[in-house]
């Protein structure tokens, strides 16, 4: 199916480029004629710092933006210095807001952005480059869009790959099962990319454990109640054959644990993903063997920091190697041994980060398949 997805994506880009081109019209041509394309500008002394994202009611994005606020506070400014562009899940609004802010600030802008969908990244980046602003992207961009193709103005892109970390939690699970028995997987919404990657992680790990059978993998739609029912049905079908459970995220794990509790089953090895505070508590009690934390607070702060420091001339992006332009975000494993320490250092009090240590916690250059 990937060729269909690719085709749709391409068509979207084409359509958007056409729309953009016609929207810009002669005015855009005239403006670029005046300033020159991809113009090199002297560093901006005091750029506006902005974060463009979906909305704050989602706990994940709330964490991201709190990182952005922590960063501007580290500059000795108030939280309100950070400009919020909220797209509410609309790529069109995302692009329109960026353009409005670019003209308002006359390009003196350091922008951190998740463009809502991958095709929207190109017009956003091109608009920023055109205006001489500095932009760092998070999560969404197409595979053919690279920061190094835009000189200094497209500073960086950060994303996460779930396949590797999911494979590692699977290994923790399979080791806890003693390398034999049967494992079931409860996944996210079947078509979601993280859901696919996390199941693939389990399958990769299973190659090294020939005595473990993947009994079943069913979608639980990231939903606690659905997971609860799927797990109890698994218990009917496989009963004692199940010796380990691999969950696609923490919410699913909660439902699984309750299904096990209803049957009076104790000590079943379970692993999950996301590192929610409640899941971390369960890890410290040993009810979950491992979860993965992706540190959205740091991700939100460092994305803003990269754009800001490139804008002020603190570093020159084009002098940096490619692995500093496109990289994976951090993944921190939480296991029973370090859960208490993890909770103290990441959840109970948010650590103070050095926002000029741009790549310390990052996880290597993004690989395309």
């Amino acid at each position: 199916m990937s060729f269909i997805k690719k085709f749709i994506q391409q068509e979207k880009v084409n359509r958007r480029d056409l729309l953009l081109a016609s929207a810009f019209g002669l005015g855009g041509v005239a403006a670029s004629g005046l300033l020159g394309p991809g113009m090199a500008r002297a560093a901006i002394a005091d750029p506006t710092v902005a974060w463009s994202y979906r909305n704050r009611t989602n706990p994940y994005w709330n964490e991201i933006v709190s990182g952005g606020e922590a960063f501007v506070e580290s500059l000795g400014k108030s939280k309100d210095f950070l400009t919020h562009l909220i797209n509410e899940g609309s790529s069109e609004k995302s692009l329109a807001d960026v353009k409005a802010l670019l003209s308002k600030t006359n390009g003196d802008l350091a922008l951190a952005i998740d463009t809502n969908d991958a095709p929207n990244a190109r017009p956003v980046v091109e608009a920023c480059v055109e205006a001489g602003a500095y932009v760092s992207t998070l999560w969404n961009k197409t595979d053919d869009l690279h920061p190094w193709d835009f000189g200094d103005n497209y500073v960086s892109h950060m994303s996460w790959s779930d396949e590797g970390p999911a494979e590692q939690t699977a290994r923790i699970l399979l080791d806890a099962m003693g390398g034999s028995g049967g494992v079931v997987h409860l996944g996210g919404i079947a078509s979601n990319n993280p859901a696919i990657e996390r199941l693939n992680g389990l399958k990769n790990a299973l190659k090294d454990y020939p005595n473990v059978e993947l009994l079943d993998a069913q979608p639980a739609d990231w939903d606690t109640q659905k997971a609860n029912q799927v797990m109890s049905s698994f218990l009917t079908r496989y009963g004692d054959e199940i010796t380990g459970v691999h969950c696609a995220n923490d919410t699913i794990a909660y439902g699984v644990l309750e299904a096990l509790r209803a049957e009076g089953i104790e000590g079943m090895p379970v692993v999950s993903y996301d590192g929610n505070p409640q899941a971390v508590d369960l890890v410290s009690r040993g009810e979950i063997l491992a979860t993965v934390f992706t540190n959205p607070h740091w991700g939100g702060g460092i994305t803003a920091s990269l754009a800001y420091h490139a804008a002020t001339g603190h570093f020159k992006p084009s002098d940096e190697p490619n692995e500093h332009r496109e990289f994976y975000g951090p993944t921190i494993f939480v296991t029973p041994e370090d859960a208490a320490e993890f909770k103290a250092s990441y959840l109970d009090s948010v650590p103070t980060y050095d926002w000029t240590d741009f790549w310390g916690p990052s996880n290597g250059q993004i690989q395309y398949q």
């Binding site: 079943d216 109640q225 049905s233 079908r237 009963g239 409640q278």
Partner: protein, 347 residues
């Protein structure tokens, strides 16, 4: 000769069309309960393993019956609530929002007032039911006083409820870990957890309301012919208001059992209840045009849906065909279990 005639007549009358239709939902349930073990049997025979039909079935076992009971109990409460509304010929789609709000309010109040049933926190249980009643009452007011069709009024109230729950929680989950409250799930009497008995108790209450109270009779009067009921001096608006309020209370009970089941209250607690409850009511033989059916039909309907959901995973049906199979089975069940000859047209 006369004797044989006399003997044949009751036999012929025993299988009347009305009787068959009345008992069809139960028949469907029975067939399903025998069908899933058949697939298990087939699978094992093909694999060359010994398998005595039903005796070796994992599906047809007390332990699995308890699992189906756990899955069905909260849905049964919500479905009973909406049964009253459907008997009146209206519909209530506010269950997802109402369940979420009741679950969240219950969890907040329970933790704030002591966090264990042995303290004043038990008051959170009636408080949640009051909230459910209030939501249902407002729903009814919007429907009756603003004269908005129940479909739109309740759907909108459902969205309001979901939004309210999100506002209260900010997207977070609240854990209710009191062991006494959780004994709804963990404590078992005769192999079944307490929540199943609680659900049965509320089923009996609902049956009492339906068959032994004026209100219950009035639901049928409104559903069977609203103009006639109105002309007979019945205050139809009042009956509708009370119906929606009563439904709200049952939604709240469903919310309490749902929290008891997973120990978590969140905005997503209400998810999926709309599909399960409406399907269950219709599959059970309560007609969407009102006046026909009742809470026992709903019990059978909820069991049919829960058995199908459980059975499909147990026989190892791939995930991507489960939804399609569920849809087809629902159509089949409705065809078999509702008397469509009496309606001249369906809209």
């Amino acid at each position: 000769m006369a004797d044989t005639m006399a003997n044949a007549a009751p036999a012929a009358r025993f299988l009347t069309r009305d009787r068959i239709i009345k008992w069809a939902p139960l028949l469907v349930l029975g067939v399903l309960i025998l069908l899933f073990p058949f697939f298990e049997w087939l699978e094992d025979i093909r694999a060359g393993e010994a398998h005595a039909y039903l005796i070796d079935s994992r599906f047809f076992s007390i332990r699995n019956a308890a699992r189906i009971g756990i899955a069905a109990a909260p849905a049964l409460m919500v479905a009973i609530g909406v049964t009253f509304i459907i008997i009146m010929g209206s519909i209530d789609l506010s269950m997802e929002g109402t369940v979420s709000v009741c679950a969240v309010v219950f969890a907040f109040a329970f933790l704030a007032w002591g966090g264990t049933v042995l303290s004043w926190a038990w008051l959170a249980i009636p408080a949640a039911m009051l909230v459910g009643a209030a939501m249902g009452f407002i729903n009814g007011l919007v429907h009756v006083k603003l004269k908005i069709p129940s479909f739109m009024a309740s759907l909108a109230m459902g969205f309001v409820g979901t939004g309210l729950a999100l506002l209260l929680t900010g997207g977070d989950r609240t854990r209710v870990e009191d062991p006494i409250f959780r004994s709804l799930l963990t404590e078992r009497w005769f192999n079944f957890p307490v929540m199943v008995y609680v659900a049965l108790a509320f089923l009996l209450i609902a049956w009492f309301i339906q068959s032994r109270t004026t209100l219950g009779r009035n639901f049928y009067a409104v559903g069977g012919g609203e103009e006639l009921a109105h002309a007979s001096g019945l205050n139809v608006e009042r009956v509708r208001l009370m119906g929606f309020t009563l439904a709200g209370v049952f939604f709240a009970v469903g919310a309490l059992l749902a929290v008891g089941r997973i120990g978590i209250a969140e905005t997503a607690t209400g998810n999926n209840f709309m599909f399960v409850s409406i399907t269950a009511v219709v599959v059970g033989g309560t007609a969407l045009w009102g006046g026909i059916g009742g809470v026992w039909n709903t019990l059978v309907g909820v069991l049919i849906v829960s058995v199908i959901n459980n059975g499909m995973v147990v026989i190892g049906l791939p995930a991507y065909v489960q939804d399609a199979v569920l849809g087809i089975l629902v159509i089949l069940a409705v065809v078999l279990s509702t008397d469509r000859r009496s309606v001249s047209f369906v809209k």
